[in-house]
Every structure is written in structure tokens, then in C-alpha cells.
Symmetry: C2
Subunit: 324 residues, 2 copies
């Protein structure tokens, strides 16, 4: 039996991953046991999974957690971009220090096992590791020049994940997720939250605030694609990654205007009319520093695939969240 | 009066910096008070400086230290490359976690002062942030792709230093020192230790071990140049740095063979005969992943200057260490 740990298992993607693992197993292997670690869990929530409540910055709790030597670890937990920009302390503590501490604890288990324990580790990084000026399509060898606290923290995390892989402590890979839309539920503190909001709220008959201009271009994938990326990354042969264990995932590059047109195609003018334009300078400034398009050749060559257009991304939301 | 803190003030460069500040002040300003923080201090040591004994990984000690709100902070403390590669735990704890924690504590003081406290912060990074394959001369926009634990840790440190600068928490700059030679005193655990050893030991009439081949090319500056870089960096207008507050310092690019010839020029064949070739695979492997030459245009444009050849570097050692 394979034991799977999802750190950040109470979050949106963690829950979707837990549901997926419970329904379909991990890459075809259904003989698995899933444990979720998070500060809080949604009511109801993913079935057939153990839940451990704790804080990533609680070094004792994380040390104890890792003593169980899970075969596969998904590390999804993070302070989101908007909160990391608003609060220097908590962002650097959780996304920086705590991730390094997690790596040290994992190495401790590896060393205690005399090298026998080498888990698969999939860490979710972000395209925020890149900063402007950007080329039209960002190549895989784009330098890491983040211009936000969140991005800087994710670079730190990529560094220790890569180092663990290089040293054979874990079969490690960091995947840089596109901005995942359409997120179900309520807005969060991520500066990117509106990208989901302008689709989700109107589809649910509610007003949504658009804080940026229509020509903002960004990089997206659905939660379903994100879960697929995570599972595929867990099954990857690390030898295929070479010296660089951070992979930019594929996505859909489109403007806010194109997203609104996709919504209009699927749900009509009345739905689109629920989007209210309320420019927000802070969000505009953060988003202006974000990448707009990628050429993720390495991930594509390894078989990773996102949606091909924004209509598909909206349809995934309708199928997975509204048609239930 | 300007209050200056040197974290790592007991080390070789910290002591030389303290001596320099005591003799000449900081960029012409002699109304300064110098405090050194380190685990241990050499006997005798730099004059007229307060000494505080503590460990960088002791979060309480660092928090207390920073409450004194120094005007200028030099952060030189690190676990050296060889030790960081040998010991995953201590390298990531000190060079990774503890540096992030230091940044958080500094931000706490900045915030408690309602933004009035904005110290100058000079952090010593390393050319180990770069990894192969290298171009002939590494440009300033070379991507950060470290292939050692030490290099990965220095990237993390650069990330939080840059973030502090971006947010106006400190007038922050990270300088990537060349490999500093000729270090006085005894060999240390840095994989680069032999670069000093093959000059220092023969000049002192002792045998030295050369663990790599003569055609190894590397990037060097003297301790005197390193101290000059530090002081200059402390006086730099951060606005000149733009979005990237990490600067590769100038240096001398030369092969081991050229270094040995420089020693022969200055000290003769008998001295050179004290160099014994004893290939060491671990050191060869680490050094093979190190940069060999740079084109540090940004630093040069800002007025930073190293020596121009290796003869000069040896002469600095003779003047500063042997002629006393």
C-alpha cells in the first residue's frame, strides 16, 4: 500500500486532489491511503482520508508528521500572494522558513533510514517566480527574478526542493502552476482571486468586481488540470528532469476580455452584465508584474497538458461545480 | 554617530572589515561605533569594537541583537560551501532559515518604528548562485541555477534581501564575492580553501595540497578588495540598483597554473616546489560546478574594482600578512 500525504489538504486543490485519489487512485494505483494535513478542513470534505490538523510553521508538528514516512508527499500549503504582499512576516515564515524546515525534517528521515527512505515529493510553485520585463512567451530557461514577496518565497522553496532532488533525498519536483481558475467557493486573499470571481459569481447570479483592465493577459488552467499535473508529477522519473527540478506547467494564455467573451458564449449577455469594473491600484500593480504567456516546452515534452482555450476552462467549472 | 553591526564579525573578512573601520571609518565617516556578532572571536582581534557572542540560528539572540537598530548591518555569517555540502541540516538551517529569520526580525524593527528605521544592509552572497553550463564570461543577467547546497542557500538569502530592498525595509544590497584569496591563517572547510593554501603555505615554508588540476580556472579577489566592496556597497544609493539588488563583484579570472606562475615570479621555484598534487574527487566535482569568469558590468559601472592580476593578489597577502 502506498501512503500519500497532502500538506495543504484542506485547501481547494488539496481537497480536489484527495477526491481524485479516493475515486481513481494515484496514476492507476488504487492501493493507497491518503492523509491530509492542514490548519482547517472544510465541512464534509474529501472521503476516506485521514486528517491531521496543524500549522506548517509549527516545527514540532511537521517533524512528527514526517516521522510517518509517507511514500508520496504533495506540498500545496502556502500563504497566498496577496497576503504575502500585505504581511511580510507570515509570508516569509510560512512560504520561506517553514518550507526549508520541512525540507530539513524530510532529510532527517532520509538520513535516519540510512538512505532507504526516498519519498516522491511534489511541491507547488508558481509562475510568480518570474518578474518583468517578460518576453512575449516566457521560455523554460527564463531567469528567476520575482518582484513580489510571494514569488521570492517560491524561489526559495524551489531551491530546497531542487537541492533535495539533487542529493537523492526525495524524488522531487516543483511544478509552477498557472493561475488556477475557476476556483469554486468564495474569493480568497490571492491578488488573482478576481480571475475566478468574474466567471464564478456571474454564473451564480451574483455581481463580481473586475479590478484590472480588460487587456490584462494572464496564464490559466482549471483545477482539474492542476490535479492532473500533480498526479503526473508524482509519477515522473526524476532522471528526466536533469539538473532543474522546477517545471513550468502548460496553461491557456488569454486576456480578461477573451475570458469575458468566453463567458458570454456560454452564459449570455445578462451573465456578463454582472461584472462590475472597479479599478484597484494595488491589484493592478501586483498583476502588472505577472507573466502573461509561456512556452513550457519541457513540461509538454514530458506529457503535461492543460486546456486549450478559456471556454474549456469555464466548462470544467460548470461540469465539476454546477452540474453536481 | 553611526552604529555599525558586523554579523560574522569574528570571521576572517569580518575582522578585516572591523580593523578597516576602526582605522579609517566607513566611507570617510569616522564617527562610528562597531559591534561584532559571532559564535567565536579570534584572540586579540579587531580593536575598539563591541563583541556579542551568539549563534545566527538562535532566533531569540538575533531578535535581541536587532532591537538595537544599527544604522549599517554587514551580514557576512555563513556555513561555508564544503560544510554545507557535507551537512544538509546545518547549511540550510544557518544559510537558509536563519537568514530569512534575520530578515523577518529586521522587518519587525522597521515596522515597530513606523517605517522610520531603514538600515543599510550589505549581505555577502556568492558566485555559487550560478551553475553550469557557463558562458565564457558570465553576464550580469545570468540565471540563478546553483548546483550546490551552498549556492541554493545563497539564492534564498538574495531573495529575501532583494525583497527587503524592494519593500523599503532596508537599503539592501547583496554582493557576490569572488573566491577571496589569499586567506590568512589555517585552511577551512570551504571547498575553495586550497586556492589560498597553495599560495599561503608555500610562502610560509610549508607544504600545500593541490586537489584539482592546473587548468582549473576560477574567479578571485583579495581580502582587501572584499573589504573595499563591503564599504562601497554600504554607501551605495539603492536607487542605482533598480529591481535587482544582487551584484556580482569584479575579480581576477585565472587558472591554477597562472596562480602558481605568479607565485614563482614573486617567491621562486623552491617555494613553488612545496605544492603537492593530490587529486581529490569530491573537491574536483564541487569546483567543476563553479563559475570561471565574469563580465560584471553593473558593479564596474557603480565603481567597484578588484585587482587586475593574480600577482597583485599575492602582493596584498605579503603586504597585509607577512610584512607586519
Amino acid at each position: 500500500m502506498k501512503r500519500v500525504l497532502i500538506i495543504g489538504g484542506g485547501g481547494m486543490i488539496g481537497q480536489k486532489l484527495a477526491h481524485h485519489l479516493s475515486a481513481r487512485g494515484l496514476n492507476g494505483d488504487t492501493d493507497i491511503e491518503v492523509t491530509l494535513f492542514d490548519m482547517v478542513f472544510p465541512k464534509g470534505g474529501a472521503p476516506a482520508a485521514n486528517r491531521i490538523t496543524g500549522h506548517l510553521a509549527d516545527t514540532d508538528a511537521v517533524g512528527q508528521l514526517l516521522e510517518a514516512r509517507y511514500d508520496v508527499i504533495f506540498h500545496l500549503a502556502a500563504v497566498v500572494s496577496g497576503e504575502a504582499e500585505a504581511n511580510f512576516q507570515i509570508g516569509w515564515e510560512v512560504n520561506g522558513e517553514a518550507v526549508i524546515h520541512f525540507g530539513r525534517k524530510l532529510e532527517e528521515e532520509h538520513r535516519k533510514s540510512k538512505g532507504a527512505y526516498v519519498p516522491s515529493l511534489v511541491f507547488t510553485s508558481s509562475i510568480a517566480v518570474f518578474g518583468p520585463p517578460f518576453p512575449d512567451k516566457i521560455p523554460d530557461n527564463q531567469p528567476l527574478t520575482p518582484q513580489t514577496s510571494y514569488g521570492a518565497q517560491k524561489v526559495c522553496a524551489e531551491m530546497i526542493v531542487n537541492d533535495m532532488g539533487r542529493r537523492g533525498i526525495a524524488r522531487a519536483v516543483a511544478i509552477r502552476l498557472p493561475t488556477v481558475v475557476v476556483r469554486p467557493g468564495r474569493p480568497n486573499m490571492a491578488a488573482s482571486s478576481f480571475f475566478s470571481g468574474i466567471i464564478r459569481e456571474p454564473l451564480n447570479g451574483q455581481e463580481a468586481i473586475l479590478p484590472v483592465s480588460d487587456d490584462v493577459r494572464h496564464w490559466h488552467a482549471s483545477p482539474r488540470a492542476a490535479v492532473r499535473f500533480l498526479c503526473q508529477a508524482a509519477g515522473l522519473d526524476p532522471a528526466l528532469l536533469g539538473d532543474n527540478r522546477a517545471l513550468t506547467m502548460p496553461g491557456v494564455s488569454c486576456t480578461v476580455a477573451e475570458q469575458i467573451e468566453a463567458l458570454r458564449n456560454l452564459a449570455g449577455d445578462k451573465t456578463v452584465a454582472l461584472i462590475k469594473r472597479e479599478p484597484n491600484e494595488t491589484i493592478q500593480r501586483i498583476v502588472a508584474g505577472w507573466p502573461r504567456n509561456f512556452d513550457p516546452q519541457r513540461a509538454k515534452a514530458l506529457g503535461f497538458e492543460a486546456e486549450t482555450n478559456f471556454d474549456e476552462i469555464i466548462r470544467v467549472y460548470i461540469e465539476d461545480e454546477l452540474d453536481r
